[in-house]
Structures are given as C-alpha cells and as structure tokens.
Amino acid sequence: MLRLDGVVKTYPTGDKALKGVTMAVPKGQVIGLIGPSGAGKSTLIRCINRLVEPTEGSITLEDVELTKLGASALRVQRRRMGMIFQEYALVERLTVMENVLSGRLGYVGFWRSYFRKFPQTSIDEAFRLLDRVGLSEMVDKRADELSGGQRQRVGIARALIQDPAILLVDEPTASLDPKTSRQIMRLICELCEERGLAAIINIHDVALAQMFVRRIVGLRVGEIVFDGPPDSMTAETLTEIYGEEDWSATIREVDEEADEEEADVAPATSGHMPEADRDRLAGLT
C-alpha cells in the first residue's frame, strides 16, 4: 500500500540522513522503526508526508506518487496520512475539540475552519473518537491543561479523524512514563487493528516495540540493516543497529515479556485481566 523506493535525503548542510531506503508497507501492518538517534527515523517518516522533501527516490501511497505532487494535490494526500508526534504537538492554546477538529482541516475550506463551523459528521466523529480514547470529559479543556498521556490521546484522535490509510508515528512514548507508554502503544495498535490501518512507529524503546508490533525495521545511519519479526531479533542484530553494547538486559526483558504474554494466554482469564496485570507490572518498572 505504501512503497518507498530508493529514498535519499541529503540536508543542505551535506548530511546524508537517508541513503536509499526501500521498503513496502502492506495494508494494515504496524511496523516498529528502531535505530539510534540520528539514524534518520524522523526524517524517514517526514519524507513520506513531505514535511521534509526527499532528495531522491519515489514514495507511492495507494498508487499515488507522492514525491511529484504539487502543493494542493499534496494536501489532499496528506489527509490520508495521520501523524502522531513525540511531544504531542498539540496547539496548546486551543481546546481539545479544536485540536481534534484540526485533523479535518484538509477537508474544509478556510472560512468554515475559521469560524469553527465543521460539518456535523466531523463533530460526531470527534466526539466518538474522544470517547474511544477516554477523554469525553475534556472536550472544552485547553490542551495545555492535560497530562502527557491525555495529550497524546488527543494527538491520536487528531490523526484518526483525518480518516487516514496510514499512521506515521514519531516517538509516541518518548515523553511518557513507562506505564502510560504501554497504554499509548496499546491504544495505537488496537486502533490500527480496528480500522485496518497501517502504521510506521518510530520508537526508541526496543522492548516496547517488540511487545506490540509484528514487524521491526532497524535503521542505522540512513540504511535499513534489519527487517523482520520481533522474535528474530538477537543481541547481534541490536549490535548491528546500535553498535557494541551489552544487550543481555534488553534481550532478557524481551524474553520475560514473551513469557508473560504466554502466561496471560494460558489460564484464559477474562479479557481485562492481562491488561490490568501488564499495567501493574509496568508501573513497577
């Protein structure tokens, strides 16, 4: 559904952030994009919706070549790509509802958006999404009154109201505590499943990525050095991506996580139990 072909990004300073990235994202697949700081993860997802202009290569979304679009055609395609940010990137002085509705800006004209006269269907959808992410009480609060986890939920709702085909997620949990991080990752993955959305999630926390995604892509200095399911990652792969380090702690954590998941499945407890359990454990870390 999304194809990247030999994407290169060279910044005006001469830094090569991406050196020919080729990958395909099928419909509904959630990908964890890992790699050290400066590997080009943020640049990669920003090249897709062209917040950063790729220097070379082609990117196609559902057979539309994104790299060659003019300004207005690009805006139409951006509606199909919801983006979620590390520092939430909410407009802090706007209300929660205005932030969510800003996800519809690509669909309405200037004056409608200026007077906040969005179509009723958008408003219904906004209420539905806010309810889904657990913020129905917060509609008219200003975004800067919310906690980190709540803000990221607003960010998720804003991305989803665009009715996207793919989510581009940039370090969604980097500013959150461990428990909230898991809740947010779970929410994103659940919503992707519900709606059949593909997603590319940039993430620092390897263990967290392994918990939630089915495919991991490892990026190192602008090149893909790993692409596979999370359980095929070893200490060697991590060394290849991040460089030499003692990975036993990370790997062990992964194993525990896997055990825990298996344990959850085995006794076939009620649907809510594993979640509560995991949250409790997460709270301790």
Binding site: N49, F110, S113
Partner: protein, 270 residues
C-alpha cells in the same frame, strides 16, 4: 600534572578572562579609559549659563507646583482629544498593516523573497525616528493631525511587525508541523497553529504600542503634526509654565491609565 599537584598541594583555579590575550585585554581597557577622559575634556560647559539656567528651572518647578488647568482649558482639551484620536486611529491602522507584514517577515512561514521584502519595509520604518518621519510627512501633507496619524502608523509597522515576526519565529515548530501534516492550507495553518501561539503577545504589544503612540503624538506635535504637542509647544513659547505643567500632568495621567489598562488586559489574555 602540575607541580603543585605532584607535591600533593591543591590545584588552583581562576575564572578564564573574557578576552584571552592579555595584550589585547589591556590595550582595550586603557584605550577606553583614554577616550573617556578625552571625551569629557572636550565637553565645553558654560558654568555661568548653567547657573542662570537654575533660576529658569526653579521658575518651572514653581509653575509645576501650581498647574493651571483653567485659563487654557479649551486648548488643552482640544489638543488632548486630537492626540487621542491620532493615537487610536494610527494604532489600528498600524496593526492592520503590521500583521501581514509580520507574517511575511517570519522566516519559518514565508518564502525567502517575501521575507526579504517584508524585512526591508521593517528596516526602513525602524531606521527613522518619529520626529524625522513627522517632518517629512508634514512637508508632504501639510500641518495637522493627518501627518501625525501617517507618521505614527508608519512607526507602528516597524515596531509591531518586527516583534510579531520574531514571536512567530519563536513559536513551537512541532505545532506548525502537526497542523501542516493534516493537509491544511497556508491560511488554515496561520489560523490554527500560528494565531493561537502569538495572539497573547500580539495583544500585549498592541496595547503597549497604543501607549507609545499616545506619548509620540505629543512629540510629533512639536513639528506641526497635530495633537497635544502643539499646545505644549505654544505654552512653552509663552513661558506659561503653569499651563505647561497642566498639560504634562494630563499626559502623565493618561499614560498611567493606559499602562494600567494594558497591564490588566495582558494578564487576562495569558
């Protein structure tokens, strides 16, 4: 390892000097002192004149003690009203012109040619003091408040557009990015990402400019551009210090009132 450390003594530390080279450091210091001495030496002070001036100053102080609002009240009232009209109209006109120029002069949202053009306008507006601009506009449009309004509007652009542009450049890039990523148009980006971030500052600056413009309206009157400045000048020329004092007190009261009001408004819009 230093000798002292080798001997088991403690290592000494001094803050590194601002200018590293000792030669340059001393040269600059001595040079500045010499220039200052020479500059003071070249000031010619006529102490006799200063002494005579003290009397005049005292007369002014005495006049100030007994401000006379009554005998020239009609002139004062007319001047103040004219000044207020000039202030409000020039501030509104200035804001209306400043906002688009400020948007154009913010590097993070404007393309380079637009940016350079708008920065150019700001630079021109800022490079002349109000008095000089007022002299020019009085020469063009003739005596009276219209020249004053044009002057103050022009000066407002340099002030407001520059500070607005800088505030926009300081706004959070990720918020702009997020709104842009939704597929918004440029105008929607301004309305949803830029305006909420800069509005409190824009309101604060506008209020501040309103009271600057009131004070300036008194100054530009001195060169014939209307307002209370003309009345003030006349009273000075006639040595009517009591009337002058009344005018000054009125100006102070109005400036304090606008300052108080702008303080309240700025606190409210946080």
């Amino acid at each position: 390892m230093s000798l002292a450390a080798q001997l088991g003594g403690s290592k000494r530390w001094k803050r590194p000097p601002l200018i590293k080279s000792p030669l340059l450091r001393w040269l600059l210091g001595i040079g500045a002192a010499l220039y200052l001495a020479a500059a003071f030496g070249s000031l010619e002070v006529n102490w006799l004149r200063v002494w005579e001036g003290l009397d005049r100053g005292w007369a002014f102080v005495l006049g100030f003690m007994q401000p006379d609002f009554v005998s020239r009240w009609a002139d004062i009232k007319e001047g103040i009203i004219e000044s207020l009209v000039m202030t409000v109209t020039s501030t509104v006109i200035g804001i209306l012109i400043s906002v688009p120029i400020g948007l154009g002069a913010a590097r993070n949202i404007a393309p380079l040619p637009v940016y350079l053009f708008c920065r150019g306008i700001i630079a021109v507006s800022r490079s002349f003091q109000e008095i000089i601009v007022a002299i020019l506009f009085v020469a063009i449009f003739g005596f009276g408040p219209f020249a004053g309004v044009v002057t103050l509007s022009f000066a407002t652009i340099g002030f407001l557009a520059k500070l607005l542009a800088e505030d926009i450049e300081d706004s959070r890039a990720e918020q702009l990015e997020a709104v842009r990523a939704t597929g918004s148009s440029w105008l929607q980006l301004m309305n949803y990402a830029v305006q909420p971030q800069v509005m409190p500052r824009l309101i604060g600056l506008s209020m501040y400019r309103l009271d600057i413009n009131f004070r300036e309206s008194a100054v530009v009157g001195l060169v014939g551009a209307g307002g209370i400045g003309a009345t003030l000048n006349t009273s000075f020329d006639r040595y009517e210090f009591d009337t002058t004092a009344a005018i000054l007190i009125t100006i102070i009261a109005i400036v304090m009132a606008t300052e108080y009001a702008s303080g309240i408004i700025r606190a409210r819009v946080q």
